[in-house]
Each structure stands twice: as structure tokens, then as C-alpha cells.
Symmetry: C5
Subunit: 267 residues, 5 copies
């Protein structure tokens, strides 16, 4: 255990050093873009509910606690893409959802351990955590050219204030289908989704073995009616018969800056 322990401490020192040295990073946003688009990136979705005790703290204490959260976010921001969403009011499961992307799952854990170690963190009840990773598209390379072309339709520019996160577990029969059959079914699934590419952005995470489901599906939209129609369309293709779990929980929330979220919790 000694050697292992030494290595771990060295890692902590290196991360600390890195955090100090790299605070005035120029290309941070670009890095985040990369984390958000590359395959092989590890994502953690952590949902929290504030305990009732939090609301008994006076405003000053809550503001100090919020400042400490900002420091933790700043410390880790260089190598983790951190997104934060407000679920409060739209989900009984959680008040806030944090989405993390990093080159290593250890980074996600390290950030969350630090966050939960703050005064505010001590009042955060961790109601759900989903782990997954990004991969290269699996079926798309075998789709017809026109489907592949259609998939390149860019999303409409502009803010997409709503996000939805839906974990999915396929049944055993799905995984026993051969690759060709699955490609055929996924082509039908994908074509049902094409009409919504402009108004609903999608991102897929693979979770097999990293959590109790196979996929985390993440959506951004400014038109919930379109998102609702998209899901309805996806329910009407054969591949949907192989979804043993779809949601449970379905997390619906809105995109916010850290400051906005902290405002809600300190005002």
C-alpha cells in the first residue's frame, strides 16, 4: 500500500501545483469545448438537494459558503468542464444538477469531494449520481450517406434553456442482436429523430458497468414541445421495445451560470 499511497500523494501535489500555475489559462474555453466534443471523456452527473438546515443559516453565512463554492469551481475549472443546472421546481429529485467532463474520472471525483467538503456542500444531499463516458459513434458509419449527411444539420443558434437527462438500460435481447440488426434498428431510431436536430441538441454517454444502466442521454432545447415530439417519435420505432429502463429518474431542468444558482440559494 505504501507505494500506491506515495503515488496518490504525488498526484495530489501535482494537481495542486497545476491548479496554482495554470490559473490564468487562456485556452480554457477551448479545452472545455474539446472535453465536450471528444470521445474518451469521462462524465459525471451529480444531483443534489439542499437539506432544510441550510435555510436556517443567516444570509452572511450563506454568502460566505457560496464564495467557497466558487473557489472550488475555480480551482478545478482548468481541467474539468463544469456545467450546472437548476432542477428545483421541475423535479422532486434534486435542486441542482452538476455535469462534469474530464479526461479522467478521478478529476470528477476530486472536484465533487472538494465541493462536498465546503460549508454549502455539507448541506447538499447527493440524491443521484450517473457515470458515463463518450465514444465515437458506433452505428453512424454504416448508415446511408444521406442519413449521415442529415445528421450534420447544425442546431439552431441561440440559447437552449432547458436540459433533460434520461438514463437508459437496454434488455438482454438487445445486446444479443447482431451488429447488423442493431444498426438497422438504430437507423430507424435516428431517422425518427432527424426532424428535431435543429431545435433539440443531443449528447450520448456510455455507462455499461459504470452505473446501473447502459446510456445517459442528455438533451438541450428551447422548445419543450419539440423535445416531447422527439421522444414520442423515438417511442414509435422498434428499438424502443428493448428499453428496459427509460428515465427513473427523468431529470428536467434549466441552464444557469454558477452565480445564478448560488443566488437562488443565498437570497
Amino acid at each position: 500500500m505504501e507505494l500506491r499511497s506515495m503515488i496518490f500523494k504525488t498526484l495530489l501535489v501535482m494537481i495542486a501545483f497545476y491548479s496554482t500555475v495554470c490559473t490564468s489559462q487562456p485556452a480554457q474555453a477551448a479545452d472545455h469545448e474539446k472535453l465536450l466534443s471528444d470521445p474518451g471523456v469521462y462524465a459525471t452527473f451529480a444531483a443534489f438537494k439542499l437539506d432544510p438546515e441550510w435555510w436556517k443559516l443567516d444570509k452572511g453565512a450563506r454568502e460566505a459558503a457560496a464564495a467557497a463554492v466558487k473557489e472550488v469551481v475555480h480551482k478545478h475549472g482548468a481541467h474539468i468542464a463544469i456545467d450546472i443546472y437548476l432542477l428545483r421546481g421541475l423535479s422532486e429529485h434534486a435542486d441542482v444538477l452538476i455535469r462534469l467532463h474530464a479526461a479522467d474520472m478521478l478529476h470528477n471525483q476530486s472536484f465533487l469531494v472538494d465541493l462536498m467538503g465546503t460549508t454549502l456542500g455539507a448541506h447538499l444531499m447527493n440524491t443521484s449520481t450517473f457515470n458515463g463516458m463518450t465514444k465515437k459513434a458506433n452505428y453512424v458509419p454504416n448508415f446511408p450517406d444521406e442519413t449521415q449527411a442529415a445528421l450534420k444539420t447544425p442546431a439552431d443558434p441561440g440559447a437552449k434553456p432547458y436540459i433533460i437527462v434520461i438514463p437508459i438500460r437496454k434488455d438482454a435481447a438487445w445486446w444479443l442482436l447482431n451488429q447488423e440488426t442493431r444498426t438497422r434498428l438504430m437507423k430507424e431510431h435516428t431517422e425518427a429523430a432527424l426532424p428535431y436536430l435543429k431545435t433539440v441538441k443531443r449528447k450520448l454517454y456510455h455507462s455499461n458497468g459504470l452505473d446501473d444502466f447502459d446510456f445517459i442521454t442528455y438533451f438541450e432545447t428551447d422548445t419543450l414541445a419539440d423535445f416531447n415530439s422527439l421522444i414520442l417519435a423515438l417511442q414509435q420505432v422498434k428499438e424502443n421495445q428493448h428499453n428496459r429502463r427509460f428515465g427513473s429518474p427523468t431529470l428536467l431542468g434549466t441552464v444557469h451560470s454558477l452565480d445564478e444558482i448560488l443566488d437562488v440559494f443565498t437570497r
Copy 2:
């Protein structure tokens, strides 16, 4: 029993009178009427249980807290239709249910975040939240004329003190049926419901992807026996075989004004 029963009937008559007399309300109510009847409206049903700490506050503090809730309701009332129901005593899930209709889901969230930010709100445990939206009738246009005509039967005038909310998830097979078959099954379902149009008002919300089910069904009645018969009739048609989830929870409560609900929590 006689006197109590007489009083109760008197109340019903007075409410019916009130409903008739007071139809020409200010513009705000008309907007609400529109939100409650238009397609494309977003609805959130949020159920709350008061935590035990609430009851330890003295009466003055609880009354001040109630006043703050009224202000929040007033602030948002212009663009959200807010209905409030008492579940306490009839459901272990929650004490109170709030139903919101707005042109945008963000409005519902904004109201609930404000509500939960009040002193009373800090004692409200959010036990369930259902999200959905209204749409134009899907199958009705293809029903026979006489079924369509029958569906226009107006509900009996007068108060409908009971409400029931039942979330529904269909099975995968349902969504794979073609539109024609589903229309046929829904015609049978609808015809089973016709005898109850006068005494049970129904409203349907679509939830696919917005929550862990496909529909929120909402009922108002003053005759629970009729409502019970209606559900029994709906269980006896083939479409019912495709309900994977029906209720869980079923929420049964009574209609009240905000003042009445706050009275229960401050007296």
C-alpha cells in the same frame, strides 16, 4: 347526519350560484381560462408535505409565513394559472398539491423556486412533481360524428370538490401500434367514458420525455362513486392492457382556495 348533509347541500347550491354570478371576472381570470383550455400550455403538478418543524413555529410566525406565500402567488398570478388542492388526510404522499399552467415551463419553475424560497417553502418537502403539456385532441377527429357530438356534452354546473391525478405510462407495444389501431382502441375507451361526462371533468397532459410517464390524467368530480365507475369502465376496454403504470401515485384531494389551505396550516 341530516343537518350536516343539509348544510353541505346548501354549500353546494351557494357555490353553484357563485359560479354562475361571478363569470365576468377581470381580465386575469380570462387569461387563466385560456391557459386551462388551450393546447401548447405547460403544466406542472408539484406536491408537498410539510415537515414536522413547521408545526413548532408559533402562530404569529406561521401567519407571517402564510402572508409571504400570498405575495408570491400574487406576483406570479398574472401569467400563471395557479390551482391548489388539499391532499392531507386522503393521501400519505403529500399535504398539498399545486397545479400550474403557463405558456412556458420556465414560469412554473420560477414560481416554485420563489415559493420554496419563502419561510413556509423552507418547510415544504417536495414529494412529487409531474410535468406535462396540453395538445390538441389526437384521436377525436377520426371518431364517428356521433361520438364527437357526445363528447361535447357539458359537465353539470356546480362545484366539483374532488380532484384525482393519475400518471400513466403505456407499454412499448402501444406506441408501435399503427395510428388506425390506436384510434380504434381509443374510440372504445372514449365510449366507455361517455356516461360520466356530466359528473366527471377530465383533462389530459402529455408527458413523454418531460417525466417518467406518458400522460398525466386529471379529474374533477363531486361524485366519487361516478368517478370510481368511470375508472372501472376504462379498465374493461382493451386499451387498458397497454397501461404499464397507472397511478403510483394516485393523488386524491379536494379543491380549495389558497386562503383555505393556508388556514389549515396556520390555525
Copy 3:
């Protein structure tokens, strides 16, 4: 909303007046008998667990709290049949179960809201609530004469200290069977139960739509071995294949007077 609120307050005043005037009612027990035997009566079963804080109150405070509960029971006793059972020790779900029968579900809610508004009520955690209603026997009129005659066997006189409450949900296939087939299956079910009519009293409540199941079955016995044999016999007929849910929870308790129950919680 003002007028509505005024009416509601008027009602409360009238009820309060009524409660005062009608305290020395003679025929109360007879009314209860009627509520317990008539069809069209609404029943609520509410189970509660005392929170740990209750036991920290001193004996004086607990006795005052118990007295307030008696007043609430007295106030509502004229038009609600109130039965109370001790589950503590025999069920992890609850300490106490209250069964209410009234001509209107509003009465049951009104009583429970008042009860939960007392000092003791603030310590009662509502762990389960079942709602149902009584109806005329559905299948019996079509049973053979000798089965109908056998069903009239009176229960043995004497106390039946044990009660068991089992909620039941049938599967979709059950409700699609025609009335004749269901009558045949229920005849087999009923004949399996005949040997236990003397030692196990049964009462059936219909819950379709009023809660997450179709029936509440209620049993009283002084011989749990006979009750166990009855259930075993009912498991051995074909109708049992259509029970999707049977229990969950099964509530086993004992019959007590209000005074005895309050004794347990104040001693």
C-alpha cells in the same frame, strides 16, 4: 375567490355550531352500524407511525395531547364511524391504523386534518392511506341458491381481536374477462372461503381510481390460524392468478378502544 372563501368559513361556523348543538346524540351507534353495512359509504384507512420526538415529551404534555385527540374524535364521531387499531409490534409500517366510514369522503378528510392538527397529530407520520367505497355485492346475485344461503352464515359471536387489511390490484386480463367468466371464478373463490365464515369476518371496499389498487380487503378474526387457512384456500383457486398485487403492505393489528391506544402512547 372572496365569496368562495366566505362560504367556506360560513360552513366551518355552521359545522362548529352543529357540533356544539348535537353532542348528546342518542342514535349514534345505530348510525355507525348503518355506515358499516350500507353500500355507497366512503372509507379511509390511515396508518401512522409516531415520530421519535413524541417520546421526548413529558407525561403531562402527552396526556394533554391525548385529551385533544379525544375531543377531535368526539367532534366528528356523530357522522363518521371511527375504528382504531394497534399495529405497533406486528407491523413495521405503522403504530396505529384508523378506519373511517362516512357518507362523504370530505368527512374523512376533515376528521384527519383536524386530528393531524393536534399536538399528537404533529408527531404522527402518515405512512399509508387507502381510500375505497362500499358497494352492493356484484357477483353474489348470480351464485346458486345454496351458495347464497351459505353466505348468510353468521359469524360466531364474541370479540375478534385481530384485524388484517390487504389491498389488492387485479391484472388487466381480469377486467377484460366477461361478467359470466368472472362470476364463475368468483363463485369458486367464494366457495373456498365458506368454511371460514364463522371465524373470519370479511368486508370489501372498491378502490378503482381512488387509490393505487382495485380493492381493500378487511378481515376480523380471533383465530389467526383460520385466517391463514382462508388465505391459503383463496390462493388455490384460479382467480388468484389475476392478483397483480396482494398486500404490500399487509397490515396486521389488534382492535382497541381509543383510550387503550392513547394509554399505550402516554404511559
Copy 4:
């Protein structure tokens, strides 16, 4: 490991010695023996977890509370066979399990109500309660003579420090099999269990209608490897296909005297 192992074996020998020497206990134990072997006895298994508040009491208060528990046990010991097990460390469900056998279920309830009314009891959270009763063997009389003879193999003498409790619910199909078929399947089940009669003691309780399952199975062993092999053998016979629920929870614990258990909670 050697020394510890030696000590452990010494302990087992000493316990075995004790079991042999102390067989001629006072009349009370004889009654207990009868309760533990007769048919028609009612059993309650009640599992409890200590709440975190308990550990904040000072040692003196905890010892006084432990003494009160001993008094309750003494008071009821004449007509209830009381066994107590330590689950803490081996199950997240509970810290302690109490098994009660009495001629009447009321006795079990009465003891548990008294226990929960002590200072220690107020800190016991009742996480699971199972109710059942003993009966004469149902299928054994129709087994071949040699199987019946084999079943009389006495368990090895000596302490059996481990206990396992597994509730079982059969599917509807099981109860519709005719008695002959069930006897054949149970014969296969029983023969699979024969090799373990010496090292694993079994006891069966019937629960139909008394709780949410059909059987409580109780095991004592000093060789968990043998118990594991027994369950594996029972999974490999056809009757196992009819187990709709097996465990959930499975309770694994160790046998202790009341003094030992109270020691753990007061030291």
C-alpha cells in the same frame, strides 16, 4: 491466524460442553422448547436499527435503559420464547433481530409494545417485522419411508452461531398445482437438502395472509459454507422456479444472549 483460530475452536468446545451440561434447566426452558417445536405456535421476527440519538446518551443512561429492557424480557419470558440476534455489521437492514414464539400473536405484540416503550425502545427503529406460524409438516407424510427416515438425522451437537432468515413468496402457479405435484416437487427439494441436515438446522413458518409472503425460513449453522451449498442445491431443483420472492431482505446474523447484545449497545 493460528492463535485466534485456536481460541475460537476452544470457545466452540466450551459452548458444546455447556449445551450438554445445562440441559436440565428449569420448567421455563422446557416451555420454550415446546414453543419452539410445537405446531400452531405464532412467531414474530422484529428487526430494529438503533437511531443515531442513542449513541449520544451517556453510558449511565444507556445502562439504565439496558436494565429496563431486561425487566421487560423477564416480565414476558414466562410465556414467550425470546431469541435475540446481532445483525449489526452483517446487514444494513438492522442492528438486532428479535424472534418471538408464543401461543398467541397478542403475546408477541404485547412484549414488543412494552419493549418499544422503554428508553432504549424509543431509539429502536423497527425496520422489518415478519409474522408467521408453525404447522405440522405438510408434504413429509407422503414422502417415501427412506426420505422420512433421512429427515430424522439429528443436527450435530454444538453451538450454531450463525442464523439466516429468508422470507419466501411463491407464484400463483405454485398454489394451483395439485397436492400430488407439489409433493413430488417438495420431495426433490427435500432430498437436495438432506446432505446438510447435520450442519444446518432449519425451521419453517407459514405466513400466508399474516404478511407479504408465504413462508419465513429460518436457519442456524456454524458452517456458512455448508449453508451456502444448501441454498445452491435448493436453487437447482424445479420448485425454485416458483419462488417469486426469495429474501429481500435476507437477514444474516449471529446468536447472542441478551446480555451480550446489550453490552454492544452500552459499552
Copy 5:
């Protein structure tokens, strides 16, 4: 009961003595290696979440509490292999997971009872406990020689910071397959896993009857992408159809020394 109690106390004294005498044990690591590789070893996985009260203790109190935990670990370390993992941030189920291997399940319980009896232990909520045992490979001896040879591929040297624990329950049909068929299916399963032997270490525990599942599978890796591919490969063989439960919970965490974990909880 007195004698039994005396024996138990004697045992405790002997163990205490033994702990004192044997502190400077040379071969401890070797013993641990043996516990981690031998068949017939009993394993307990206990997961804990720190309650919110812990974080209100001042740093001094938390450090003293941490020191007491180290003593308990030291006391039992001679005959139990103790591994500790940080789940916090990667699982909502628990903050910390402790894996114990001992020659007897009693040792695991004794350690955990001692741990939960410390000041820190009083703040640990036991969210999950899994019990199992190691056995000789069941199917491997019947695999072809080349598969057996491939299985001997050593894991890459170097730290494997990630661990995953997945409990598995097979369906009834699995256990009714004959040994030959199961061997064939397990051969296919095993061959799917071969490409990952270098980067993912696996260990299997048998739980039938010791807990609510049949197996505990434990994995160590430094490449979560490989682990994810391994699970995906295992989902694509026929044996996977017989997994009735796979995970629920899936526990993902990181390897740490006790000091590192206690650091997280005291800083």
C-alpha cells in the same frame, strides 16, 4: 445464560490479549495475500455514508475520532484483510466502502461492530452490506486447455486506482441448466473477457443465501474505458440473459489508504 456470557467475555479478553501480544507481526501482509487468494474465505463489503452531523464536529473532535478508527483497524488487522475505498462523488449510495476478508464471518462482524462503536462510527450510516465467500473456480477445470492458459495472463503491474462492485442474481432457469450447459455458457462468457485480463483484475464471491443475490463481482482497473468494454462484451453473450439483477447498486470508487480516507473526512 450466565456461563455462555462468561465464555463470551473470556473470548473478548483473549482477543484483546492476542491483539496486544501480536502487534509486531511479521507475516501480516503474507496472510492478507492468502486471504485475498484462498478459497473458503468470507468477505463482507460494507458501504457507509457520513451523516450531516459529522461535519458539525470541530476539527479536533474529528481527528480524535479518526485516531480511534485507526486503533480499531490496527486491533483487527492481524486476522482480517481490510481494504477501503472512496465512493464519495462517484456514487450517491455511499461515501466509503470497506471490504473485509477473514477465515470466519464472525471476524468481519466483530470488526464492523467495533468500528460502528467509535465516535466516527456513530456518524456512519450503513447504506449497503454485501456478504459472500470465495470458492475454487467451478467451470474453469472443464474449459479447453488454451482457455485455461489464457486465463493465467497476469494483470499489468502498476496501481489500479478504480474499483467497481456489482452484485448479480441469476434467474431460476440458470440454476436448472445442467452443469455441461452452464460450463459451455461460462466458456463463452470467459472468452469474451480474455482481452481485458491485463487491464482489469476480477474477483468473484459466492453469495447464495448469504445475501439477496448469487454473486458479488469485484473489479480493479486503471482504465475505465477497458472496464466499460469488458462489461459490454459480457452483455453480448448468452449467459447475460440469465442475469435477473446486475448491479442495483453498481458501486464505483477509488482505492485509498485509510489515512487518505480519514484525511478527506477530517480536513
